[in-house]
Amino acid sequence: MLLTITTKRYPATDLGYLLHKHPAKVQTVELTAGSAHIFYPEATDQSCTAALLLDIDPVKLVRRGSSGHDFSLEQYVNDRPYVASSFMSAAIAHAYSSAMNGRCKDKPHLVDEAMPFEVTLSVLPVKGGEYLLRQFFEPLGYEVSVQSYILDEQFPEWGQSRYFNVTLRHTLPLKTILSQLYILIPVCDNDKHYFVGGHEIEKLMEKGQGWLDSHPSKELITRRYLRNIGPLAKEALGLIMRDDVLPVEVKEPKEKVRLHDVRLQAVRDLLLELGVSAVADMGCGEGKLLRLLMEKSAFKRILGMDVSYHALEIAQSKLKIDRLPEQQKARIQLIHGSLTYRDKRLSGFDAGVLVEVIEHLDLPRLQALEKVVFEYARPQYVIITTVNAEYNVLYEKLEAGAFRHSDHRFEWTRAEFEEWGNRIAEQFGYIVTYRPLGEVDEVLGGPSQLALFKR
């Protein structure tokens, strides 16, 4: 909520000229959700400090946002009035616009002069903590000192907060410092209080000129500044790195993507091999497997079911179902449903496929799923894949005993999966076989595992 800028360059009161704000006054500018005050705690020729103080109206903050459907309590009790966030960037742009844009009527020579500045922010929320904070500022040459806080001294077990008192020191033209703060404050916070559209790319290009393209964290800064909106970030990165070769993606996510593709490919190949024509993807998510299935005319009837309506909407648009020709459209159907409820719509398929679905159910609820799939839907074939817990040790970033996904309710070893599969096969009259999926480790097996049940 408070940003101070101090200089000791003689005469320090030149800061007043640079900022276009008289050191003896307290001035106020209006912002969308309140106002900001500018005052000088100290203004001598030896040392001059300008303070920019946010005065956010918490009630107005809520009423503004109440048009949406987000009705959680979060928006009523929140840290926005007390932190430096995109509101602070907006205040900088309003209160210090001339300075940031490099205009100084009375002493134009000051604009490009590098001066020693000390900047403090009270308090700056940083998603990713002190490490990231330093990653953002230190490459630009700032000397960074940080005061961190625990959440509540009465409850030390709650751990550290994400708030910091930050002091930055550097010798730079003021306009550069302001531009960098303008971009990096909301990047630290990783949030924006307003709608982010194409216009934000222009702002980023403008304020980032001369420093962003050489910043080692330019990608992260760009993505965060654009609120992680994929297409926007991609466009902006394209502009920033016009001359660079686009870097290869980070290794971990790529591997993850590949494993999932391997899984889906394996499932499709298996379905083709089995010669089935009607397939129900039970837990189709955003429809990746459905798209693979649509590519093969052998699959005459394809059903995608998921419990998440949102995922189905994405699948609907990704598969462009509305724009498919009649004959293609007739092959595919998406339904909202759940594997813990008996559902007639799942009957009558040659094969039912559950790719990485079961581990998202609490173990006691599996009983219901078993009956839904094997007793009521009862396709001729059932393909179930799930992660192989034994393989987890090969993921360096994964802590021992942790699951690969935060929503996983369990992860099974091969023996556990087979024990379950064998029981199911016995109980419902299927024959089951197992195979690994993905790159197989001799001892630990594949990263994922597949069971094929045949009636």
């Binding site: 909520m1 408070l2 003896a24 006054k25 307290v26 005050h37 005052f39 000088y40 705690p41 100290e42 203004a43 303070a51 103080l53 005065d55 918490p58 009630v59 459907h69 009705f71 959680s72 309590l73 979060e74 009523y76 009790v77 929140n78 840290d79 009035p81 007390y82 932190v83 009270s122 308090v123 929320p125 806080y149 959440l151 509540d152 009465q154 409850f155 077990e157 709650w158 751990g159 907060s161 994400r162 708030y163 008192n165 419990v307 309506y309 909202h336 449903g337 759940s338 594997l339 813990t340 409820y341 008996r342 559902d343 159910l361 006691p364 609820r365 219901a368 009956k371 839904v372 009521y376």
Partner: protein, 867 residues
């Protein structure tokens, strides 16, 4: 039977029939239809032509128009409504479709022929400007009509009426509708429905006597029936209702027939036919039937009977109606059961179903046809009582019950008392026959049939918009978008639905107070109830924890038997959205064990004559459940404000000391600092570390249900005192809620409530809840709010934000609308009670789950969460 009596003045048709008007163009069908039927009962092909093409005479759209007529007719028949088809219908092939449709919906097809002279038809058409088809059409239609007239019976029409002149039409005064024979909705019981007797005369007499009837055993006649007073206040004689299969296999089939015939013929009892009875009739009628499956015994036993008796048996069985709808349609009795779409209908298929049920077409290892269990899919409102398939124990499944407990096979003869729903059995005196397939085959489970079936609920009732009926309130509509949200939550996050027999309703705050510095004050809560005409309320301290529903069973066997839950312990504690309260199963079970110990030691189970209980409660501390919220939201805001504001204050002080005019700003930010300090203090009140069970507090405030009973008929003082007794069983863990009774209108009493609230909130308490003294309170518009909360000033700081009570903030926050929240509270309240009523009534889980699912769906309605 074509009726050609001249000048018929009155005809009678079945109340549920598909009436086909048959006659050439100009015969006067539409006029006839309008005279005798309601406009909505008539579907005219001409009208349908008009609807789809703007021209009632457009012959080019005949096929589409016919499709539309058929579509409308099908919808009406599905609902059981008489329907009249107004089209020429002169060709047999066009009539064939209608007979098929009637069969599909098990209604009777009736033909009314308007066989008018050609000149009459021509004359009428000439008068109409819109009908300018050629003059050859009418003669052609008449000739088609005449060719087909003789065969209408063969075509499948059960009744055929023919009118041959305008005079005959004019002479017809009324068409009455007669109820189907199976319609005995006017009979309200009480009934004693008796399972398959199969010639077990002595057992039948024993059973009747156990039920309170007096029987002349020797003469096989009923001397007297017991009297019962129904809920409607009328005292009536009970009536035995037999589900059929009176004969075969057993030792005294003729005596059974004699006794049942005596009852039925004298209106003292009812009987539907069984397959064995039907086969006996075929034998008596001289048909070629095999003397197997016990018929051989009956035939032998009947050999010594008189021809008159045999004749009367023939008449009796022949006169039996396939099934009965009784008690306003709430009860259906049929030998092999009956699915909903066939109830109260008449067709060959219905009769077949009633006698034999459905089979899957497969045969089992004993060479017997595998019966398709229609009851598994039964979702009808009527209770269906049937026999036919011997079972080891009569068990409810989806509001149906098979009461054939295999008396003839040496087990027992069972009666279901209706409306009491109690079962009465007498043992077989001996085993008279050996079943071809062991009774109870496939039934080796600790769970009841219903519970096994309930292990997976059917999604059909939970998709899209649905309307739920509740006994304490109006019908409640669940919108599709809300069902969508609930399905995901139910599938991914909630506990086993078998435990989820209740979810608590949301609670509205009092109207906004205008008192300085306050948003809520008890005066408005008391005023609400005063305006609703309530004279007495109870104020209960509001605990600041998390709402918890607690179900405790005496032991795991009870959990199995009553809830159908295996291997999940003997109880559960869940949140108001149906999620497990404790992530750790062990903690939950330890907690349940402590409550169970208190229930046992305080004699709760005996006092309440139960072996389980469902409590509505608050579980503290708040920090136990709301960890993430506290860390990410409350403590976070506290830290940000607590660290930033002192810096601001110090900067402003420095500026002032250097002469800047920042005094006003300083005051403003000093106030903010103060407010955030209060805010941190407020949330800390409700947090304490939990190291063991002893650090929790559970404050139950309602005893929702126990075996066979809900407790909504008891007032809140009763609940408080019963809970106080329970809490004495574990004072470390259980907390009795302090309360105060208030007489509305008594100033002193009301002031005491206000003072108490001030005292509670000054000490850091959340506030209080005001409830009407009785659990269920209504005013002239229906249910009123079951509870209203009045929260303290400091507590509201953690709801509305640290700075909410600054004058200019408060002024704006006072603009808040409660109607949405209140309507939601009422809907959730009545659904919650309905769920419990259904559960204690042992309704199928599907019906309980509908209500609970509904509450969860309603929870996704957008309502200001600060209320």
């Amino acid at each position: 039977m074509t009726r050609r009596n001249n000048k018929l003045s009155h005809i009678s048709i079945p109340e549920l029939s598909l009436v086909l008007l048959i006659g050439p163009s100009g015969a006067g069908k539409s006029t006839f239809a309008r005279k005798f039927f309601k406009p909505t009962e008539i579907i005219s092909s001409d009208v349908c032509r008009g609807l789809i093409s703007d021209d009632e005479n457009n012959q080019n759209v005949s096929a589409d128009a016919f499709e539309l007529v058929r579509f409308i007719a099908a919808k009406r028949l599905k609902l059981g409504l008489l329907t009249v088809i107004d089209a020429t219908n002169v060709q047999p092939e066009s009539r064939k479709h209608w007979v098929q449709l009637a069969r599909e919906y098990h209604v009777l097809p009736v033909a009314i022929i308007l066989n008018m002279p050609e000149e009459v038809c021509q004359e009428r058409n000439d008068l109409r400007s819109d009908r300018n088809f050629g003059r050859h059409v009418i003669p052609q239609q008449i000739s088609q009509l005449k060719r087909g007239l003789r065969n209408l019976r063969e075509e499948g029409f059960r009744q055929v009426f023919e009118l041959r002149s305008p005079d005959e039409v004019a002479a017809l005064e009324t068409i009455t509708r007669s109820p189907l024979y199976n319609n005995k909705k006017d009979e309200h019981g009480p009934f004693d429905i008796i399972g398959d007797v199969h010639g077990c005369y002595d057992e039948l007499c024993n059973l009747l006597e156990t039920l309170g009837y007096e029987v002349d055993r020797e003469n096989a006649t009923l001397i007297s029936s017991p009297l019962t007073t129904n809920a409607d206040g009328y005292t009536r004689y009970r009536k035995p209702v037999f589900v059929g299969d009176l004969v075969d296999r057993g030792p005294k089939s003729p005596q059974v027939l004699r006794l049942v015939m005596h009852m039925v013929n004298n209106g003292l009892g009812l009987c539907v036919p069984g397959n064995h009875d039907a086969k006996l009739l075929r034998y008596l009628n001289g048909k070629n039937v095999q003397l197997r499956h016990g018929l051989e015994q009956t035939v032998t036993q009947l050999a010594s009977e008189t021809p008159e008796f045999l004749e009367s048996v023939k008449t009796f069985i022949d006169g039996l109606i396939s099934h009965y709808l009784l008690d306003d349609g709430k009860l259906v009795v049929a030998h092999a059961g009956l699915k909903e779409s066939m109830q109260g209908r008449g067709s060959g298929a219905v009769r077949e179903f009633c006698l034999y049920g459905e089979t899957t077409g497969e045969t089992d290892e004993f060479g017997l046809p595998v019966r398709y269990n229609w009851a598994l899919e039964y979702g009808g409102r009527a209770m269906v009582v049937y026999g036919h398939t011997p079972v080891p124990e009569a068990q409810w499944l989806n509001n149906t019950i098979d009461i054939d407990t295999g008396c003839v096979f040496g087990a027992s003869l069972t009666a279901l008392r209706y409306p009491e729903r109690t079962l009465v059995s007498v043992p077989a005196l001996e085993q008279y026959a050996v079943p071809a397939r062991p009774i109870g085959y496939n039934a080796n489970s600790v769970l009841s049939v219903q519970q096994q079936y309930d292990s997976v609920l059917n999604i059909e009732d939970f998709l899209g918009k649905c309307i739920l009926q509740t006994r304490y309130s109006h019908n409640i509509t669940i919108r599709e978008e809300n069902s969508i949200a609930a399905l995901e939550v139910m599938s991914r996050f909630t506990i086993n639905p078998k435990w989820l027999i209740y979810l608590p309703p949301t609670m509205s705050p009092a109207e906004t107070s205008q008192e300085e510095g306050l948003l809520e004050h008890p005066a408005e809560g008391l005023q609400y109830y005063r305006e609703a005409g309530v004279t007495r309320v109870i104020c209960e301290e509001k605990h600041m924890g998390s709402r918890a529903v607690v179900i405790v069973c005496k032991d795991e066997q009870v959990a199995e038997r009553r809830f159908g839950v295996t291997g999940e312990g003997n109880g559960v504690i869940y949140t108001r959205t149906g999620r497990a309260f404790f992530a750790d199963k062990q903690t939950e079970q330890d907690f349940v064990a402590r409550i169970n110990a208190a229930l046992i030691s305080t004699g709760f189970y005996e006092t309440f004559d139960t072996d389980w209980v469902c409590l509505d409660a608050e579980l503290m501390p708040w920090s136990a459940k709301a960890q993430a919220l506290l860390r990410d939201q409350y403590a976070a805001v506290g830290t940000a404000a607590g660290r930033a504001l002192p810096e601001v204050v110090s900067a402003l002080n420095q500026a002032i000391s250097n002469g800047a005019p920042a005094q006003v700003l300083l005051e403003k930010y000093m106030q903010r600092l103060e407010q955030t300090t209060s805010y941190v203090k407020a949330y800390r009140q409700y947090c304490w570390p939990v190291e063991s069970l002893n650090d929790y507090k559970l404050a139950p405030f309602h005893i929702m249900a126990t075996e066979g009973k809900t407790w909504f008929d008891k007032d809140h003082e009763w609940h408080m005192s019963a809970i106080k007794n329970l809490c004495a069983g574990d004072e470390q863990l259980l907390l009795a809620t302090p309360y105060l009774l208030v007489n509305i209108g008594n100033e002193e009493s009301e002031q005491a409530a206000i003072n108490w609230w001030k005292q509670l909130t000054a000490a850091g308490g959340e506030g209080m809840v005001v409830k009407p003294y009785t659990f269920l309170s209504k005013d002239d518009k229906g249910l009123i709010q079951p509870a209203i909360k009045i929260r303290g000033k400091e507590y509201l700081r953690i709801i509305y934000g640290p700075e909410y009570d600054a004058a200019k903030n408060l002024e704006r926050l006072r603009v808040r609308k409660l109607s949405g929240k209140r309507s939601l509270a009422l809907r959730e309240f009545s659904l919650g009670l309905e769920a419990l009523e259904r559960f204690v009534n042992k309704d199928p889980l599907q019906l309980v789950h509908q209500c609970v699912f509904g509450i969860l769906a309603l929870e996704s309605e957008p309502v200001d969460p600060r209320l």
